[in-house]
C-alpha cells in the first residue's frame, strides 16, 4: 500500500482527457532541440556550440552539479542515442529553455521536469566526458582509447571510496543558479533511464577557482585563497600548452578536447579550525587574509621559493604553494575549476563532511595531475588535514560544432 494513495489517475481518470486533442506531437524533444541554435540575446547565456566544450575556459560559475554514470546497455546504438539526446538537451538548457514541453499532453508526464522554467540561463554550461571504461570491449571503442585515458594510478594519500569514484560518462553542469545546474543532472539522468544509471553525483555550493582575469580569487573552506596562480582563459598560450589536447594526441577525435580529473577531497575541518594561524599560513605558504605569498605583500606577487630568513626557507619546503608551483613540477600547470561541497555530517563520527570537489583540466593527466599529485601527496603539509575520498578521470571531447553534432559523434564514425 502506498502511504498516500497514488495521485496517478487510475480508474475513470482518462474520461475528461479523451476528448482532448493531443497537444503537441508525440515526437521526442530532441527533434525540437535540434533546431538551429539562434544566438541568444540573453547575456547570461554561454554559447553551447564551439571549438571547445563550454565549462572549461568559461569563467567559473558559482554553482556545480556533477554526476558520473555507468552505461548499463550493451547496445552501442542506444549509447549513441543517449549522447545525441544529451547534446540536444544541453543546447536547449544552455539557452535557458526546457528540453521539451512542460505543458503538453495531460495524459503524459512533462518532457521537461520544469524546475528551471522562468529562470534565466544563469551562464549554464554542460560539459560531458568519457571515462576509461567506456573504451573496454562493450561498444567496440577500444581502438579509440587515448593512451592518456588510463585509470589514475594509486596516489599517496588516497582513501578512495569506489562508490564515489570512476564512471563511464560524466556531466559537469555549472551555473550561477544551483537549480539551473541541478536541472541538467536530473533531466540527463531521466534521459538515460534504460541506458545508463547514475553512479555518483556531487553538488558544489561555491566556486574555489578563478579561471579568468576578470574574477577575484575565491577562498576555499580552509579560509585561504588557493589557486591564485591558476591558468586563466585569457591566456591562449597557456590554454594551448596545458589544457587543450592538440596535435600530440594519437587519437584525432579528441583534438580540441581535454582531460578532466575529479577528486573529492574531504577536509578535516574541525582539526583545521583548531590549528594556530602561523601554522595554517605555513601549510599554505600564504598569508590568510590577503592571500599574499609569505615572501610578498600582494596576492599576485610571485612566491620567492628561494627566500630564506634566519637560514630557513620563508616558504616551507613542504608548503602547498611550493609543491604545487610550476617550478616544482617541471613547468607543468593545470586548469583548476573546483567547488566547495558539503554533504552534511559523517554519520559515523558526527563531524562535518565538507571540503573541496577538485576539478582540473589538462592535456595529459599523466604528466600533469598525476605528476603534481605525486609531489603533493608525498610531502604536502596540507595532507594532515585532507583525505581524497573520490577520484575519476574523463576524456572530454571537443566542442559540438552545431545542432546535429553530438558528443562523441566522430568517435562512433
Amino acid at each position: 500500500v502506498t502511504a498516500n494513495t497514488s495521485r496517478r489517475r487510475f480508474i475513470g481518470g482518462a474520461l475528461g482527457a479523451a476528448g482532448l486533442v493531443a497537444a503537441g506531437g508525440a515526437g521526442f524533444s530532441v527533434a525540437r532541440a535540434a533546431e538551429p541554435d539562434e544566438k541568444s540575446a540573453d547575456p547570461a547565456a554561454v554559447p553551447f556550440y564551439g571549438a571547445h566544450q563550454a565549462g572549461i575556459a568559461t569563467p567559473a560559475q558559482d554553482r556545480l552539479a556533477f554526476a558520473a554514470f555507468d552505461v548499463t546497455t550493451p547496445d552501442r546504438d542506444k549509447l549513441q542515442l543517449l549522447l545525441a539526446q544529451w547534446s540536444a538537451a544541453g543546447a536547449q538548457m544552455a539557452r535557458g529553455l526546457p528540453i521539451g514541453a512542460v505543458e503538453s499532453n495531460p495524459d503524459s508526464p512533462p518532457y521537461d521536469t520544469g524546475e528551471a522554467l522562468g529562470l534565466p540561463p544563469s551562464r549554464l554550461t554542460v560539459t560531458v566526458g568519457f571515462g576509461p571504461a567506456l573504451f573496454d570491449e562493450r561498444f567496440g571503442l577500444a581502438a579509440h582509447r587515448p593512451a592518456a585515458l588510463t585509470p589514475l594510478p594509486a596516489l599517496p594519500g588516497d582513501e578512495l571510496q569506489p562508490e564515489r569514484s570512476g564512471g563511464d560518462l560524466c556531466v559537469q553542469a555549472c551555473a550561477d543558479d544551483p537549480q539551473v545546474a541541478f536541472h541538467v543532472i536530473r533531466n540527463f539522468a531521466r534521459l538515460a533511464r534504460g541506458t545508463a544509471v547514475m553512479r555518483w553525483s556531487q553538488l558544489g555550493f561555491g566556486r574555489t577557482s578563478s579561471t579568468s582575469t576578470t574574477q577575484a580569487t575565491p577562498r576555499n573552506l580552509m579560509g585561504f585563497k588557493d589557486g591564485t596562480r591558476n591558468i586563466k582563459a585569457e591566456s591562449a598560450d597557456e590554454m594551448n600548452r596545458f589544457v587543450w589536447v592538440g596535435a600530440e594526441t594519437e587519437q584525432p577525435w579528441l583534438k580540441g578536447g581535454s582531460y578532466l580529473v575529479a577528486r573529492r577531497i574531504r577536509m578535516l575541518i574541525e582539526s583545521w579550525d583548531t590549528d594556530y594561524l602561523a601554522d595554517q599560513e605555513k601549510v599554505f605558504g600564504r598569508v590568510k587574509t590577503s592571500g599574499a605569498p609569505l615572501t610578498g605583500t600582494h596576492e599576485f606577487d610571485t612566491p620567492d621559493l628561494t627566500a630564506k630568513k634566519d637560514g630557513a626557507p620563508v616558504i616551507d619546503l613542504n608548503a602547498h604553494i611550493r609543491l604545487a608551483a610550476p617550478a616544482s613540477n617541471g613547468g607543468q600547470m593545470i586548469l583548476r575549476r573546483g567547488y566547495s561541497y558539503t554533504d552534511g555530517i559523517d554519520p559515523r563520527t558526527g563531524l562535518l563532511d565538507a571540503g573541496l570537489f577538485f576539478i582540473a583540466y589538462q592535456k595529459d593527466p599523466r604528466r600533469q595531475f598525476v605528476a603534481i599529485q605525486r609531489q603533493l601527496g608525498r610531502n604536502d603539509l596540507l595532507n594532515e588535514y585532507i583525505r581524497h575520498t573520490g577520484s575519476a578521470l574523463f576524456a572530454v571531447p571537443p566542442g559540438l560544432r552545431a545542432a546535429g553534432d553530438y558528443y562523441g559523434k566522430s568517435l562512433f564514425g
Binding site: F10, A14, D107, V197
Partner: protein, 395 residues
C-alpha cells in the same frame, strides 16, 4: 498476436459501472470477436487437455492441437515441487491460469480461444513452455487500434476479476488458518494470499472515497493509519511474523475476508479504459520503487520480493493488454517497453529460490548493489511506460 476472444457479455453493459467507456464509438463490436462457436461445435477435436506435471519431464500435454472455441485444461501436479501454476499465454498475455497447484494437487481452468498459436507456460518446470495450435474458422478480429484497445481493456477486466477471485479464495484459507492453532500454516497462508493483492493493487486504490479507503483497510502498514483503525494484511503479518502468535488474529482475518468480498463486488462492476491500464501499470511500478525496494511493505515477514515480483507481473499484464494497440500506434515504444520488462524480469528472477516458502529470497538478504540494480531496471521501464497513457487516450 491473436486477439483474445473470450467475452463475458455481462461486464461491458454493466449498468453499475462507474465509468462509461471512452471507446463508446466501437461498443457495437462487443460481439464482433466472439469465439467461433459454430466452427468449434462442428469440430470433433479435443475440448479437454490433460496437463501432467512431473519433476522429471516438466509440463506435458496429451493434446497440442485444438479447434477454436472452448478448451478446458485439467492439471495434475504429480511431484514437481518447483511448479505451482500453469498459464495459457497469447504472446505475453495471460488468457487463463491455475495457481496454487503444488506437488500432489490438481486443478483446472477453461478458456475460449480463436485460431492461432498459444503457449502453455509452467514456470519453474523442467519443460516450461509448450506450444498449442488452435485451428478452425477464426473469429472475425477487429484489428483497428480501437478494436485492439477494446480487446485489451476486456482482457484486463478478466485478469483483474480472476486475480480478485484468487485473492478471496486464498484470504478465506488464511482466515481459516488464523482460527486454528498452527502458526506455521498460517504464515504460509499469508504468503500464499499476498501475490494476488499485489497484482491488482491500483484497482483497489481507486476505491478511495472520503474516509472510506478499502486499500487502507486491506493493506495499510503500521502508522499509515491511526493504530485503532489498523487492520488488514499487515496487521495479521505483524501477529504472525513478529509476535509469532495467533492470539487475537481471527477477528482481523474475518474483517479481511469481508473487505475483500467488498472489493470483489466493486471490481466485478468495473469496466476499464485504455489509459487506466497504462496508469495502473505505472502505478504498480511506483509501488515497487516506493515501498518494495526499500523493504517498507513487508516489515515483519520480509517477503518484499514476492510483492515486487507480483507488482511487476500485474504491471506487465496491464501493458501486455495494450501492447497490440501500442504496437500499431508506436512500434518502437512497444518494443522498448517489452524489452525493458524482459530485462526487469531477468533481474527479479535472480532472486528466486526454493529455500523458503515464498519462492524468493527475503528482503533482509538483499545488498545495496541488489537494490540499485532492481531500482535501475524498474526506472528503465517506467520512463517509456509513462508515455503510453497519452498514446492510447487519444487513439
Amino acid at each position: 498476436m491473436p486477439a483474445i476472444s473470450v467475452r463475458r457479455a455481462a461486464f461491458v453493459v454493466s449498468a453499475a459501472a462507474a465509468v462509461t467507456t471512452v471507446l463508446a464509438a466501437c461498443s457495437g463490436s462487443d460481439g464482433g470477436t466472439a469465439s467461433s462457436s459454430t466452427g468449434a461445435s462442428k469440430a470433433a477435436a479435443a475440448r479437454v487437455a490433460t496437463v501432467t506435471i512431473t519433476s522429471a519431464k516438466g509440463c506435458e500435454l496429451d493434446h497440442t492441437s485444438f479447434a477454436a472455441g472452448g478448451i478446458t485444461f485439467k492439471i495434475q501436479n504429480k511431484d514437481a515441487t518447483a511448479v505451482s501454476e500453469v498459464e495459457l499465454l497469447a504472446g505475453e498475455r495471460i488468457l487463463g491460469e491455475k495457481e496454487n497447484i503444488a506437488a500432489g494437487l490438481g486443478g483446472e481452468f477453461a478458456v475460449k480461444v480463436d485460431a492461432g498459436t498459444y503457449t502453455l507456460y509452467c514456470p519453474g518446470a523442467a519443460t516450461e513452455k509448450s506450444t498449442i495450435k488452435v485451428t478452425g474458422t477464426a473469429a472475425p478480429v477487429d484489428n483497428s487500434v480501437a478494436g485492439l484497445l477494446k480487446a485489451g481493456t476486456d482482457g484486463y477486466k478478466r485478469y483483474v476479476d480472476t486475480q480478485v477471485g484468487y485473492l478471496l479464495t486464498n484470504t478465506k484459507k488464511l482466515d481459516v488458518a488464523l482460527h486454528g492453532t498452527n502458526l506455521a500454516a498460517a504464515q504460509d497462508a499469508y504468503i500464499a494470499a499476498r501475490p494476488f493483492y499485489e497484482k491488482i493493487e491500483p484497482v483497489a486504490e481507486s476505491f478511495v472515497n472520503g474516509k472510506q479507503n478499502l486499500d487502507a483497510d486491506i493493506d495499510a502498514r503500521a502508522n499509515d493509519v491511526p493504530a485503532s483503525q489498523w487492520s488488514g494484511f499487515h496487521r495479521i503479518e505483524k501477529g504472525l511474523f513478529q509476535d509469532k502468535s495467533l492470539a487475537g488474529l481471527a477477528k482481523w482475518g474475518d474483517k479481511l475476508v469481508a473487505d475483500i468480498t467488498t472489493l470483489q463486488t466493486k471490481t466485478n462492476q468495473l469496466t476499464y479504459q485504455a489509459p487506466d491500464l497504462a496508469n495502473g501499470a505505472q502505478g504498480l511500478l511506483d509501488e515497487v520503487a516506493a515501498s518494495k525496494i526499500t523493504g517498507e511493505e513487508e516489515r515483519y515477514s520480509h517477503i518484499d520480493m514476492v510483492d515486487m515480483a507480483n507488482n511487476v507481473e500485474g504491471s506487465e499484464q496491464a501493458f501486455a493488454q495494450l501492447e497490440p494497440a501500442v504496437q500499431k500506434i508506436d512500434p518502437n515504444l512497444a518494443a522498448t517497453i517489452t524489452a525493458e520488462f524482459a530485462a526487469l524480469d531477468k533481474v527479479i528472477d535472480k532472486y528466486r529460490t526454493t529455500s523458503n516458502v515464498s519462492g524468493y529470497v527475503l528482503y533482509t538478504s538483499l545488498t545495496d548493489a541488489d537494490r540499485r540494480s532492481l531500482a535501475a531496471a524498474v526506472k528503465a521501464v517506467q520512463e517509456p511506460l509513462s508515455r503510453v497513457a497519452a498514446k492510447v487516450a487519444n487513439a
